[in-house]
């Protein structure tokens, strides 16, 4: 991290998450971080490096490898008045804790008739692109977005990585934050006084009039690259970053689609039974007579993520495939 222009900090996404954690732990005495190797090791993605020395072992808790129990303990601690931040090392490991996430975190408020809320934040790394093969690189956030009772957020920028954690921590309900693992080294500028970021709204990252690309997470940056390519061809592309996958901000999505009348959904999740299908269905219902072309989807190929780089690249949405999908809608 370095201070560059006046009032602007230049930092990585990883540093932004770390700063967000530090701020949360300073501002909220009930907050604590627990998960596998978050303390002595410094976090498997080095996000929490240094926090153990700064905050001590009571608030930076290394857990045994027992995802279901430390996520469940986060739920219990939240019920007991704490504001736990639970780190699950990587998205595939959260499957071991699905019982606690789906059967407890998402249901207890409802099952208790509103008596108990679960103010819990669960963070995890998600997505492919680092040759980690089929058990460390899936994009299951859209799948979890199926579940009522939890919020799903996907910070794609340094500012969102820095600003969403505090908002999530203040939320009275469980919030799952998915951090794309390919973004941890991404650098960006953050104004000194950048504050909390709301977790209710999508945002238009690039404005355009010919076609809308709806995306989130690591794919946002591929969509922006695609939009640059398309601009050189005279195609004026709007890019919408969903940011929150549940609840979906359809107001922003529909407004953009109504303007451009052409929609590409770029989603690192698989196509079948997916978030991209959900968005397409809602847009079709809302804008059936306004669209100039069928809604197009660029998703991950229906294959477990392969190890070799050329196959992994081929499996994922890429700037070229996103741009190609947009071109098809125009021509």
């Amino acid at each position: 991290m370095e201070t560059t222009a006046q009032g602007v900090q230049h930092m990585t996404y990883r540093e932004a998450v770390r700063q967000a954690l530090r701020e949360a732990l300073h501002r909220e005495p009930r907050a604590f971080l627990m998960g596998e190797d978050v303390g002595k090791y410094g976090g498997s993605y080095a996000v929490s490096k240094g926090l153990l020395a700064e905050f001590g072992p009571d608030r930076i808790r290394d857990t045994p490898l027992s995802e279901s129990t430390f996520v469940g303990a986060g739920i219990g601690a939240a019920l007991g008045g704490m504001r736990p931040i639970v780190e699950v090392m990587t998205v595939n490991f959260c499957l071991l804790a699905l019982d606690q996430i789906v059967n407890n975190a998402a249901t207890i408020r409802h099952m208790s008739g509103g008596q108990f809320s679960i103010p819990l934040v669960i963070r995890m790394a998600t997505g492919a692109g680092r040759q980690l093969a089929a058990q460390h690189a899936h994009s299951l956030e859209g799948w979890l977005a199926h579940i009522p009772g939890i919020r799903i957020v996907t910070p794609a920028t340094v500012a969102d990585a820095r600003g969403m954690l505090w908002t999530a921590l203040e939320d009275p309900d469980p919030v799952l934050i998915f951090e794309p693992q390919t973004l941890y080294n991404m650098e960006g500028d953050l104004p000194d006084h950048a504050g909390a970021v709301d977790i209710d709204h999508a945002v238009v990252r690039r404005t355009g009039n010919h076609v809308t690309i709806i995306t989130y997470g690591a794919t946002l940056h591929k969509a922006i690259e695609a939009a640059g390519t398309l601009a050189r061809e005279g195609i004026d592309t709007e890019v919408v970053d969903l940011r929150t996958l549940r609840p979906l901000d359809m107001t922003t999505v529909v407004a953009s689609a109504r303007k451009t009348r052409r929609v590409v959904i770029a989603d690192e999740g698989w196509r079948s039974g997916s978030l991209s299908a959900e968005i397409a269905a809602r847009l079709s219902a809302e804008l059936f007579y306004d669209l100039e072309a069928p809604i197009s989807r660029v998703c991950t190929a229906e294959v477990p993520i392969p190890y070799p780089k050329h196959l992994e690249d081929a499996a994922l949405p890429q700037p070229a495939t996103i741009a190609a999908a947009a071109r098809t809608l125009i021509h």
């Binding site: 604590f32 009571d58 857990t63 045994p64 027992s66 279901s68 129990t69 430390f70 996520v71 469940g72 303990a73 986060g74 739920i75 219990g76 601690a77 939240a78 019920l79 007991g80 008045g81 704490m82 736990p84 019982d99 606690q100 059967n103 407890n104 207890i108 408020r109 409802h110 099952m111 208790s112 008739g113 509103g114 008596q115 108990f116 809320s117 009522p148 009772g149 919020r151 939320d171 009275p172 309900d173 209710d200 709204h201 609840p247 901000d249």
Partner: protein, 331 residues
């Protein structure tokens, strides 16, 4: 008899009759529930606790109002013994909005903030991590409390049992693990599910103080629970009590009981916890027919009131269907 001894005997008599009353409340409440189920007024799954009353009554008698309980789907007895209002409990069985969980949970999901009763968890083993988390919150706030976690022998085969015992022992958390070993995980007898059936021994393997207790003897249960709770409250770390008990009724209302002999059931019924306590009281000259009749009359009146309350209860308006999914409704 000295004056002091006389006072003690009087106190013991009142206390013992209180235990009897609590067990009878549970027995009569559930007998009424079975009747209401047959009449179609209670639906869904209904798991009766009849036969196991001594465990809930003895354990709850050892707690203070500050302590917390995490229970299972067979939890009517724990709720009543803990002090959850019988009227609201019965209304919950009906699904009425006057129920303790506003009717949203039903028989399996009893929650009550006032008595720190955290469900009502119908995923076997799912409550253990939550209990660990509640205890973690107490430990982090230096509160002298106990969280009682009730579960059956079926849960002992679940990974969450082992993860939770490990974590609670590792972090010396104030949890009383209360295993109700009724010998059957639904229809699977313990020898057919566990390579070693000594549940207390499993706890000791994690460094947890554990004991096996006659779960049909309410006085023994209370004594064991008091001793354990006191040690836990004063920082001694978690303990496990394995209560040897038996359910007299089927697993649920749909169970034809093909997996156990009637002779075995009859044998256990000879150790009915209510009859055992009555005999002990009678032998000690502490319970005459008039006193017993008075208890019966009280209990019968309470159950009748509860049914009346539930019958007079109201259905939540369908317009409120999606309330209590989020504390902060989607923007």
């Amino acid at each position: 008899m000295t004056t002091a001894a006389a006072a003690s005997a009087v106190l013991d008599r009142a206390h013992a009759i209180g235990l009897l009353r609590q067990m009878l409340r549970i027995r009569r409440f559930e007998e009424k529930c079975a009747e209401l189920y047959s009449a179609g007024l209670i639906r869904g799954f209904l798991h009766l606790y009849i036969g196991e009353e001594a465990v809930a009554v003895g354990t709850m008698a050892a707690l203070t109002s500050e302590d917390a309980i995490v229970a299972t789907y067979r939890e009517h007895g724990h709720a009543l013994a803990r002090g959850v209002d019988a009227n609201r409990l019965m209304a919950e069985m009906y699904g009425k909005q006057e129920g303790c969980s506003r009717g949203r949970g039903g028989s399996m999901h009893v929650f009550d903030a006032a008595t720190r009763f955290y469900g009502g968890n119908a995923i076997v083993g799912g409550g253990l991590p939550i209990a660990v988390g509640l205890a973690l919150a107490d430990a982090m706030n230096a509160r002298s409390r106990v969280t009682v976690c009730v579960f059956g022998d079926g849960a002992v085969a679940e990974g969450e049992f082992h993860e939770s015992l490990n974590l609670a022992a590792l972090w010396k958390l104030p949890v009383l693990f209360a295993c109700e070993n009724n010998l059957y995980a639904m229809g699977t007898r313990i020898e057919r599910a566990l390579s070693r059936t000594d549940v207390a021994g499993k706890a000791r393997a994690y460094g947890i103080t554990a004991a096996t207790v006659d779960g049909m003897d309410v006085v023994a249960v209370e004594k064991a629970a008091r001793d354990a709770a006191e040690a836990i409250r004063t920082g001694g770390g978690p303990q496990l009590l394995e209560f040897a008990t038996y359910r007299f009724r089927a697993h649920s209302m749909f169970d034809a009981e093909l997996y156990r002999d009637k002779a075995e059931v009859e044998l256990w019924k000879q150790r009915d916890p209510i009859r055992l306590l009555e005999q002990r009281l009678a032998e000690g000259g502490m319970l005459d027919a008039a006193a017993r009749a008075a208890v019966d009359a009280d209990v019968d009146a309470e159950i009748a009131r509860a049914v009346g309350f539930a019958e007079a209860g109201t259905w939540e308006p369908v317009e409120q269907l999606t309330r209590d999914v989020y504390t902060r409704p989607p923007a």
